[in-house]
Symmetry: C2
Subunit: 348 residues, 2 copies
């Protein structure tokens, strides 16, 4: 039963038989079976059809041999439930009407996710039943800063001009927006756990576009409030502040059980900065999966060594797997991680 438990054990910093691994975006375009489903339905239809979302969630579990599933969905789902009109068109999300001021924020609702996000919750229930205890299922949401960047800038951004202008210069609408996102996200992730998620990850994909002082001022507080608000659920909480390697003294105060590391962070340094009460997850450069398997092995083993012998490391990429990745390279990575033993541990 080790595969069923090693992810959650590592989140709790308990000893494991092998380092657990899952891969961000493991249900995605690099898998032929996923592409076959996407030939029939749009991205949004896939998110909104519980049976199909469950199907693609399950694909990588046996095909790669990973130690956790993560529900297939999108970080914009709760924003849509709040009233944002979002389109995808096979690319990044775009808002019909970006939230730029107080009236825009006031127009947003704090939804009841058990009603408005029912597709995701149903997908979790179906997946959980299909998994039948093989591996745990991870739920997720965006952290408030990251969700707000999409809602305020209206889509993907390079400069984050509008979201930064609001966050740095307009505390009234900004704090109201964060309040609504925090309240929505706590309810949404609680409902995911209720439906069967055994852990939840908060994605702060755009943490790294902020200075350390601004991260502390505008991104960290909302994330921390969500983590605190989920404290009674009894499941591990993972927080992934991408690009925040220079702010790990602040990140360490977020309250999460596990901190996700992108690949620009030295994992040994991160473990020292975070102390022994926080587990880490990461952190192979996704582009490394285009190298030949021997080089993948060399790079994965360096991370495993650098992560140290103390419990509390979940292997992952430092960001989502790239669409053109050869699936057999992802499988090879999983095998390397599961087969790794420290020099002082002997053969597997």
């Amino acid at each position: 039963m080790s595969r069923a438990t090693r992810f959650l054990d590592a989140c709790r910093r308990r000893p494991v038989d092998a380092t657990p691994i899952w891969i961000m975006r493991q249900a995605g375009r690099y898998l032929p079976d996923y592409r076959a489903v996407r030939e029939r339905v749009s991205f949004l239809e896939l998110c909104n059809t519980p049976e199909l979302a469950a199907e693609v969630t399950l694909q990588p579990v046996d095909q790669l041999g990973v130690d956790a599933a993560i529900i297939f969905s999108d970080i914009m789902v709760p924003a849509m439930a709040m009233g944002a009109e979002v389109s995808f068109d096979d690319g990044p999300p775009r808002l019909a009407t970006p939230v730029r001021d107080r009236s825009g924020v006031d127009a947003l609702v704090v939804p009841d996710p058990t009603e408005t996000c029912r597709s995701v919750l149903d997908a979790i229930r179906i997946t959980r039943a299909e998994l039948d205890g093989r591996v745990p299922l991870i739920g997720f949401a965006a952290a408030p800063w990251t969700l707000a960047t999409y809602m305020v800038d209206g889509g993907p951004s390079k400069a984050f001009r509008f979201s930064k202008a609001m966050a740095f210069g307009a505390p009234d609408p900004w704090n109201r927006l964060v309040d609504k996102i925090v309240e929505t996200t706590i309810a949404y992730l609680s409902a995911q756990v209720e439906a069967g998620a055994g852990a939840v990850q908060l994605f702060d994909t755009w943490a790294g576009v902020l200075s350390p002082a601004d991260y502390e001022g505008v991104a960290l507080p909302g994330a921390r409030r969500i983590i605190e608000g989920l404290g009674d659920l009894g499941v591990p909480i993972l927080y992934f502040p991408r690009g925040a390697g220079q702010m790990f003294d602040r990140v360490a105060t977020c309250g999460a059980d596990v901190i996700g590391l992108d690949w620009t962070i030295d994992i040994a340094k991160a473990r020292r900065a975070l102390g022994d009460r926080i587990a880490v997850q990461g952190n192979l450069d996704p582009a490394a999966l285009f190298l030949d398997p021997l080089e993948i092995e060399r790079r994965a083993e360096r991370i495993l060594r650098d992560a140290g012998a103390a419990p509390g490391h979940i292997f992952n990429l430092g960001h989502g797997i790239l669409p053109q990745t050869p699936p057999e390279h992802a499988r090879a990575l999983v095998d390397v991680v599961h087969g790794f033993r420290r020099a002082d541990e002997g053969a597997p």
Copy 2:
């Protein structure tokens, strides 16, 4: 004559009457006079017409009151001189034929920049004459890793899939490519100094997409060789490894006189990491220039205070000024920086 000397003095970590400031992309789209020129000629024509390049280079000098000019050009100029066919079409550079293997690298030449980059050198000569000693003129080039990402991936990239595959997995073509870029860039920057550049900046815009180990393995060596190769020129060398805040122990060994800091770096921490033999340049978030001037002042003064009282700070943004920036906000920033005095220094 203080405006004429304070930039170079700060590069040399000599005391100055006021912190010098220039702004990356200060000759650019946010300035109405620049847009007026661009209505008549394409970006590439502008780069290739010395009189026009000099004209836009000079525009911000008096309009903003900055303490240095930087020659208007593009980092792809030496790549084109090496044989790459590059188009812009009012957007980022795209290569007709990306350099993906040994034969692609072999097809590149090491040009004589005094012939093939003559437009830039002429623009420097004209600008230098027009400046007439008011402020120094900065020349520039891309660092090898950054230039290679464009040449190998064929344009702007999110994943840097091909450049990383070559840099991490194919040392033969990779090292040959870096050798050619290093040789070209040393000759090119030397020619810029010969033509009148009083300092040169090496842009490593994509340093931050590498892990610390990969930065050390594939980006830093080429940058260091260029800096060493320019050592006898007697002008300050500035190196801007964007996103490399977590690798400053390595960056500190590059040999440059000044390290550019993006805004995700705590400037006080950077100064401690770099020691007192290296000056720093930076590091206001470019998005801060959309805030109201009082908030711009607050943020600029925090950076000035955090930079410390030791000589060797050049104020700049942490990346290029954004196209929609109000020019009067850039002017306000320049005034704040020039007017700043530490609490223990008394009024200006």
